[in-house]
Every structure is written in C-alpha cells, then in structure tokens.
C-alpha cells in the first residue's frame, strides 16, 4: 500500500439502525469525516451515545456503513470485510472472553479463528503473555482473573494476528486507577512499536494521555478535532477558576461575575461555577473584590472536559 495514503479514511460516514420493536430508526453516526495515518494514536472522545462505538464497529468491518464512504487499509469493508479483519485488532467494550477456558486457551482459540498455524500461535503466545504480564496466570481459568487482568488478556488476544491497527473501545472503563495506569503503560509500548491505535473514551485524562489527535463527538457528529493541546488552546482559556457556594446560589453569583466582567466565560454547573480566565488567581482576587465568599475556590489548568463543556453545554460524564 502507498504509504502516503491515509490508513483509514471516512467521508460523510453515517450509521442508521433500523426500527425495531416499536422504536424508531436511530441515526447513531450522522455524517462524519476523518482520516489517520500509520503510527498515529487517534481518539474519539465523547459521552455515552455519541456514536463512538458505532463508528468503531464500522471501522472493524462488522457493521455495514449506511451512508458515505469508508476505506480501511485501502479496502472497502462492505466487500473485503474478512481481509480487513485479518489485519486489524479489536478490543471490544465487553471483554468477550470465554470464562470457562484458560488464559492460554482464549488466545489460542482466537488465533485459530485467524487461520494461524498452531506453531505460530504457540510462539506468539509466550510473547503476548509476557507483554500482558500474565505469565503466572497462563493456565488459570479466566473466571479467576481480576478486571484489569481480563482487559490485558483481551488486548494480548487482539495482538495475535500482529495487527496494523488496534481498535480499543473504552479500554479502561470499569477499571480501578492502578489497573488503568498499568494498561496505559502497555498501550504506550504498542504505540512505540508503531502500532496505530484508535481509541474511544469518555475519560478526558485517558484521551490526553494516549491520543496524538482527537475527534470530539456529540450526537453522532464530530464537533471538534485536533491534538489535545490544540483543542484546549483554541476553545478555552489557559486556566479555570472553580468556585463552590451554598446550594442554589450559583446562578446569582454567575450573574454578578459576568456583570463585573470577570473571566472570559462563565459556566454554571449543578455544584459549582466555572470561571474561564487566562490568570485564575487574578480572577479569584477580583471575585474576592466583589466580596463573594466561596466555600471552596480552586484554580486549575483547563482540560478537555472544559472543551467538551464549551462545545456541547454538557459534561462528559453525567
């Protein structure tokens, strides 16, 4: 394949699920464009129901495209599904592991689905177990593994065919913080080895940590695209001042802050007021000048969460 062409290219990509049992047809993905090249880590950031998983399923050639065009590794998923699937790896949101089988057996069975010879699977298995830090658990039943181990096993399994692209759907959802960091470390290593990563997440820290480039999704559309840094710089101020007052007082406070011209933008959340300003400490001093007395005040750097809030008027995690 020509190395200058994008690895994946989507134009006006859309997915509509047909009506079922009285529910009307549902347009999960509503005409999106994106492309990415070899070695990139690309993320789809958005809340549940934004259309991220549907997009991933189309990329994985297991869900027919309703409208628009999609090319994966230069191929059309409609006619070359098996060829595409043989060259990509998929880590689904549900682990889809066989709990009755052992760690080793799960990888082995999966490798056989790819038509890999037994000797090749056996040779790769040892490396994958090492990569997933599961050597000690190789012959344990999956039933006995922790959530983090299962997730690492799912990733190890998805690498059995040495994929050029790895699709990860919500890779750390439901894991504890320590397990998440272990997993991120493994994904950095893959990235360093040149594997193209495509990740969906509703965690902004995950998006910031792992992705070179992000598409922010909402309601089936891409509402912004760029590197995490670019997104923050072009959509929000450098810092945010978070003020917490007694319940029900937030709207009135926001009004006074706006009238006094403090901050470039002010958002009211159920439990706090966000003041976007280049200098958060200065904004806090000005607020004190209005003799406002917040219960707590916090100055922090802006994050993707703020970008999302500005673009959609909603938080990422409801």
């Amino acid at each position: 394949m020509d190395d200058n062409r994008p690895l994946v290219e989507a134009r006006g990509l859309a997915k509509t699920y047909p009506a079922r049992n009285g529910t009307p047809p549902f347009r999960a993905v509503d005409g999106i464009d994106f492309e990415f090249g070899r070695g990139e880590a690309f993320g789809f950031l958005g809340p549940n129901g934004a259309g991220k998983s549907s997009t991933m399923r189309m990329l994985a050639a297991i869900s027919p495209v309703t409208d628009g065009t999609l090319r994966v590794l230069g191929m059309d998923p409609a006619s070359q599904g098996p060829e595409i699937r043989s060259r990509i790896g998929v880590v689904p949101q549900d682990d889809c592991l066989d709990r009755e089988l052992t760690v080793r057996e799960n990888i082995y069975v999966y490798g056989r689905y790819f038509g890999l010879p037994k000797a090749v699977i056996r040779e790769r298995l040892e490396r994958l177990l090492q990569f997933a830090q599961l050597e000690d658990k190789a012959d344990a039943q999956v039933e006995m593994l922790s959530g983090g181990m299962r997730r690492r096993l799912t990733i190890a399994r998805s690498l059995i065919n040495e994929p050029e692209i790895l699709l990860l759907d919500e890779p750390t959802t439901g894991l504890d913080p320590q397990a998440r960091h272990v997993l991120w470390d493994r994904l950095y290593r893959l990235k360093a080895d040149g594997v193209t990563l495509i990740i969906t997440t509703h965690y902004m820290d995950e998006a910031e940590q792992l992705c070179d480039r992000l598409a922010v999704m909402d309601g089936g559309r891409i509402v912004a695209e760029g590197s995490p840094r670019e997104l923050i710089e072009s959509h929000v101020t450098r810092e945010v001042l978070e003020l917490r007052f007694a319940p029900d007082g937030h709207a009135a406070v926001a009004e006074r802050l706006r009238d006094a011209g403090i901050g470039e933008r002010i958002d009211v959340l159920p439990d706090r007021v966000l003041v976007y300003a280049a200098d958060g400490e200065a904004a806090l001093a000005s607020a004190h000048g209005l003799s406002l007395e917040p219960i707590t005040a916090l100055v922090r750097r802006s994050s993707l969460e703020d970008v999302f809030l500005k673009l959609t008027g909603r938080s990422l995690i409801d």
């Binding site: 699937r85 689904p92 889809c96 069975v109």
Partner: protein
C-alpha cells in the same frame, strides 16, 4: 468450510469439559425410559389391544419414537438458549465476529457441533435399542441417519430464531408451551390412529411427528417407500429452509 471448522474446534474444546456428563445422560436416559415405559407400560398395553400397534411390541413401537424425540431434545439444548447467549454482547459469537470469520462461518461451525452432538447421542441411544433388540436387523444403518436428520431439521430453524432473541426467557417459554406439547402428542408414546381425525391432521404437520414416523418405519423394518420419501423430504426441507433463514438472521444480528 475451513474457517467454520475453527468454530467447531472451539465448541469441541468447551465440550471436553462436560462430555462425560452428557454421555451418561445419552445412555442412561434411554435405558431408564425403555425399561420403565417400554417394558413396564408395554406390559399393560400389550395385554390390552396389541392390534392398535400393528402387532408389534410396545417397546419396539415406542423406542424409535423416543429416539426421534431425544434427537430433537439434544438439538434444543445445543441450538436453543446456547445460541441466544452466544449472540449476546459478551457472548462467544462476538469474539469470533472480530476475526476474519463471517456470520455464515460462525453459523456453520456451530451447526457442525450440533450435528456432532446429535450423531454421538443418537449413536448411544441406538446402542441401547440394540441391547433391547428393538431394531429390526440391519435397518439400524438407516435409522441412525434418520435420527440425525430429525435433530438437525429441528436445530437449524431453531437457531435461526434464537439468534434474534435478546433475552433468554423466550427460549424457556418456547420449551414449555411448544416443545413439551409436541413431545407429548407427536405419536412418540401412542399410535396416531388413536387420535380424532381433526387433531391427527394438526399433529401430523409437526416436525417431531414426521421424525417419529420416519424413524419408526425404518426401525420396525417395514417402511413404505412413499412414507420415507415424504417424511424425509419434509425434514430435509425444514433443514434447508432453516439454513437459508439462519444465514440472514445470523448476519443481521452479528453484523448489525
């Protein structure tokens, strides 16, 4: 076909963990039934009206009927709720869909395993029948494929339906309200001639009735050519039609 074999291989790997239990069931069940119902009730029946069974002993009459019914029961176990669970978001089918396998490969692979289960369980059943001497001579060679066809003619259309289900309870309702009545009234335990004409017509179109008639005719050693052709093609059509529908429903469900 080669790709489907890997799914079959996976099913066998899982089955390795439970095969002993199912094997005991495949042998002990017919043994108990043939002893209890065949010999026990048969004793009462034969002393009453032997003519209604065409002059054969109740055990000889009942055994091939139960063979057909048990082939379908195996089919129900392997292609009923198991398919629904496999097609669920975290099920075994989902693992296979992310590989080069197409939904049609997954369907074929699973049905190969169902065929394997029906083949082995009916073989055990037929061995027990031979022990009781209920099969007429060499007709056993024809009874076995007939029993396997009976199981598959039921399994494949069943899988075409169960793959579309989101929840398990519907499969249980199917078992209670459709499968059990069919099991009881398809002439497994009695001659259809005993039923009123209208009911008999209704019952004769049930797949199990067709399977029972086919297996019984062959087992008793005096099948009519027309009967074998009619029952055999009915079951073959059911199997084929089921396969055509299943190809569509599997793809619709797994590649939504």
């Amino acid at each position: 076909m080669p790709r489907a074999l890997h799914v079959f291989g996976y099913c066998l790997r899982l089955y390795r963990r439970t095969w002993k239990g199912t094997f005991v069931i495949s042998v002990v069940n017919p043994l108990l039934f043939l002893l209890g119902v065949g010999v026990g009730i048969g004793h009462l029946v034969s002393h009453g009206h032997p003519a209604t069974l065409g002059g054969v002993s109740y055990t000889d009459f009942f055994a091939p009927g139960l063979l057909a019914a048990s082939a379908m029961q195996t089919a129900f176990v392997e292609a009923g709720g198991r398919v629904t669970v496999s097609a669920s978001p975290s099920g075994a089918y989902r693992t296979a869909t992310t590989t080069p396998l197409d939904p049609e490969d997954i369907l074929l692979g699973h049905m190969l395993f169902v065929a394997f289960r029906v083949l082995t369980s009916t073989a055990a059943f037929i061995a027990v029948m031979e022990l009781f001497g209920t099969i007429s001579g060499w007709w056993v060679v024809a009874v076995w494929p007939a029993a396997v066809l009976s199981g598959l003619a039921f399994a494949v259309p069943l899988a075409a339906w169960t793959v579309t289900l989101r929840t398990y309870p519907q499969v249980n309702s199917f078992f209670r309200f459709l499968f059990m009545p069919m099991y009881m009234f398809s002439g497994t335990f009695f001659a259809l001639g005993e039923l009123p004409h209208f009911v008999r017509l209704l019952v004769s179109v049930l797949p199990l009735t067709q399977a029972v008639e086919l297996c019984r005719g062959l087992s008793l050693g005096h099948p009519s050519a027309g009967g074998v052709a009619a029952h055999g093609s009915y079951l073959a059509l059911l199997l084929l039609g089921g396969a055509l529908v299943a190809r569509v429903t599997y793809r619709r469900r797994l590649h939504a």
